[in-house]
Subunit: 508 residues, 2 copies
């Protein structure tokens, strides 16, 4: 099977490069003079720099230079934390003039090295722009500074019985601007769709400092090209998002979740189909967790495990959520589903546990959401966030594990575990390879192996995390040459000097 798959590889992609090369004039480093200029734009406490006359140490800005996984490390000397759009615009005008590379930074929870510098680019962190600008409880339109934390926004609209259309494990740290910049998917996409549908408008500071203000709250507007779409998922390479207008749905009146233990992976698809039939519009999440991922989350105390006997022999798990308008109706539907799943001659599930209280509801979600954290506690993770047909989820995990074993890399000192979990409803698998350390040997064993595997299914090498620094070189596995050329032309159009997040998304 592996060989058949790989026989269909069509692409030769050059090995990954760790720096941004370009045909453009080189970018300039931030100097003490630049910092002096920034001091005219920003209050002193909004400037963190290790350049003289400051006495900050490199370690003081470590948290901005290093990513969440501890995998990507920048060498920036200077971090700016502007408080409003005007300041961002003034900073960008200067950087444009001076050809200084800039990394926009939100909560720095991105998983592809997009949010930290590759060399010593200036970091513009949006954390100080955290005001809600307006909320309309009738339409659900929320307008907020890009630096607002996702969870704070949820809390802000909760009293009005609205929820954010997206939710993800990093909600306590990630910012709405970062979510938009990465086109984050998350746990509610199945129900509320992607940010390309829910974002109503954006305010963006372009690389030359121009403010593109399209912060509309209207739901439908067909007057010309939908420019905002370009910034959704551009990972900060076309401009800095300073404001977001987003459509928030009314909170469901009732939510329940259930964990199902499945004897065999092959049952996932039939369970999914049956669930869709029984639950239709109230099915709001359908998450897949393989056995190794489940055990890992349990080991690290994420959520309450199911009864040990009950899950004996379970090959994988499904976490399923419903969100509906009437509790009794939803429960009736869910009970009907569970009966159908258990009743068959050869039941599709071993067991199913329905949450009985808000605490249990939260604890079941923690099991799923806690996987990312458990992985990072367990070791250093190579994370592949891919779109492939659901039927191939297990095969891809197994093939990757086998491949590493054959390379003699599957042992405690190299790769400890290969696990899979993800959003079944969206065809999105998180393949995580947990190693003792990041090494070039493992790296070379995994890439382009994984990318070629994904391409053989016509999949996407990045379903939701983006390309960042990690996969900029590998875009060809998922996009045609014509498409990449067109993207490069758009990048040149918006950012002719190449100062916006250099080396990310596209290679020049």
């Amino acid at each position: 099977m592996l060989s058949t798959r790989l026989a269909s590889r069509r692409l030769a992609v050059p090995a990954r490069r760790w720096k941004h090369t370009s045909s453009r004039p080189p970018l300039n480093s931030v100097t003490a003079d630049d910092v002096a200029h920034f001091a005219k734009i920003l209050p002193q406490n909004a400037i963190l720099s290790t350049l003289p006359p400051s006495d900050l140490h490199a370690s003081d800005i470590d948290q901005y230079n290093n990513d969440w996984m501890g995998k990507y490390h920048g060498n920036s000397t200077t971090v700016l934390r502007p408080q409003n759009t005007k300041q961002v615009s003034d900073i960008m005008k200067w950087c444009h003039e001076r050809r200084i590379g800039v990394v926009p930074q939100g909560g720095n929870t991105g998983l592809v090295g997009g949010s930290v510098p590759i060399l010593d680019e200036l970091i513009i962190n949006l954390g100080n722009m955290s005001k809600v600008r307006s909320f309309d409880p009738v339409s659900g339109a929320l307008v907020a500074d890009a630096g607002c934390i996702l969870e704070s926004l949820s809390e802000h609209i909760a009293p009005h019985n609205h929820i954010m259309p997206l939710d993800l494990g990093a909600k306590g740290s990630c910012q709405i601007g970062g979510n938009v910049a990465t086109n984050a998917g998350g746990l509610r996409l199945l129900r509320y769709g992607s940010l390309h549908g829910t974002v109503l408008g954006l305010e963006v500071v372009l690389p030359d400092g121009t403010v593109l203000d399209n912060l509309t709250t209207i739901r439908k507007d067909n007057t010309g090209y939908d420019l905002k779409q370009l910034f959704i998922g551009a990972e900060g390479t076309l401009g800095i998002i300073t404001g977001v207008s987003i459509l928030t749905p009314p909170a469901p009146q009732a939510s329940t979740n259930v964990i199902l233990a499945l004897p065999r992976f092959e049952n996932v698809l039939p369970v999914f189909k049956t669930a869709r039939l029984h639950l239709s519009e109230i099915l709001s999440a359908f998450e897949f967790i393989d056995r190794e991922a489940y055990d890992l989350a349990v080991k690290h105390g994420q959520g309450k495990a199911l009864n040990e006997q009950d899950v004996e022999g379970a090959e994988c798990f499904v976490l399923l959520e419903t969100s509906g308008g009437k509790k009794e109706h939803d429960e009736e539907k869910l009970t009907g589903l569970l009966e159908t799943l258990l009743e068959a001659d050869e039941p599709l599930i071993l067991t199913g546990v329905l949450s009985q209280s808000p605490t249990q509801f939260a604890s079941m979600w923690r099991l799923r959401e806690g996987i990312t954290e458990s992985v990072s506690k367990e070791g250093k993770a190579y994370k592949y966030d891919i779109s492939i047909p659901l039927a191939a989820f297990k095969e891809v995990v197994d093939l990757t594990r086998e491949h590493l074993r054959k390379q003699g890399l599957l042992h405690e000192e190299a790769v400890k575990q290969v696990i899979g979990y993800g959003h079944v409803g969206d065809g999105n698998l998180h393949l995580n390879v947990i190693a003792a350390a990041y090494t070039s040997e493992i790296q070379a064993a995994l890439e382009p192996f994984v990318y070629e595997l994904v391409a053989s299914y016509n999949g996407s090498i990045s379903a939701e995390h983006g390309l960042g620094a990690m996969k900029a070189h590998a875009i060809h596995y998922s996009k045609t040459g014509v498409a990449v050329d067109m993207m490069k032309k758009i990048k040149e159009l918006f950012d002719p000097r190449g100062i916006m997040n250099p080396g990310k998304v596209l290679e020049f």
Copy 2:
């Protein structure tokens, strides 16, 4: 009130121009030599031309030169009806080389003059590209030629229990490519969101003939800029859409609708709020029909009217649809809603009629969908398709009527009626001014009056129909100069010779 509203007008927009002017070299007309070249690309029956040696008359291609409303008239000599993407590409290569202006045409049901030439541009009609390429009943991904009629696609997937995520009155003639090109909204947007969220991928022939193939069926793909978004709503000014991949939702297991007669317009908002509370996720349409629109539809035999006594004194109507997973549940919710609406001390509605059969269901929808047709039977319509706050729906209709009255234009020989209807759930009002004939006097009375009114609410002058030829000059009422400049740069990037649908969307 009127004067306050208009006091806030901030924009001076030049009067509408009926031809495309440009700083670029002028475009060339199609010659007999060009037609001879096209004969090498296409079979003879795919070429309709009045140029020698053909003996076709101008009247033979009338249906392609004139729009659905009979308002916009082109003078093209030649219509091509290619059968596949390669042919479209070869045609475009030639037109690019020869600087021939091109109008992509779908079902020609557009309402803003975008689908017919302004002068004598070549018409490329997609009607011969009408094959379904693939359908995956698990994911719901449908891939089809751009020329497929919307209704045929619905029929194609119906046996698999899926529906198209959009529906509109023109479904029997409009094409999926035309829907995408106009970013059509329609009757299901409230439930399934806009095409920016449901279109998975596109195949587009760029102005120079290059094929941009991104016809993916995966739901999530964050590898670089989402180029397809630019073509959604570009109205054929950036390229010709030849293939569409779209996510189709599972068919609801049960659908019901109800018509509500409201004593006063002021009740629409409370009714909407109450409906959302009771029906939440099963509320799939909430359409507003004012009294004049209702009477007009009834007059033209569209759908069955409610009982005459029951609607006496009704100022407006609401058509509400539910689509859910379980009939009994949905009916229970709907009954609960009707009780609440009727029970209050001062009931919010006069009467509500629930459809009791599929025939009645269809007949109630016909009442709403039939308005567009009734309007065109009644006279010549000036159609304004605007996004404004729901609370202003009635005010805008009333102000427009008053304005026309003051100008002495509200009588049988000039403007017969001013009506309003639309998608309340999306904040989208269709303001229709029905005249005896299209005259420059009425035109001058309406524009920029209506646009200024919309701008005073920070609304959109085109919620879903697009700008086309009608509103290209008026884009500034809804977009900033910075945004328009950026759009123009994108147009230049994709179409440096300005051959794609010249004079539409943007003025040069």
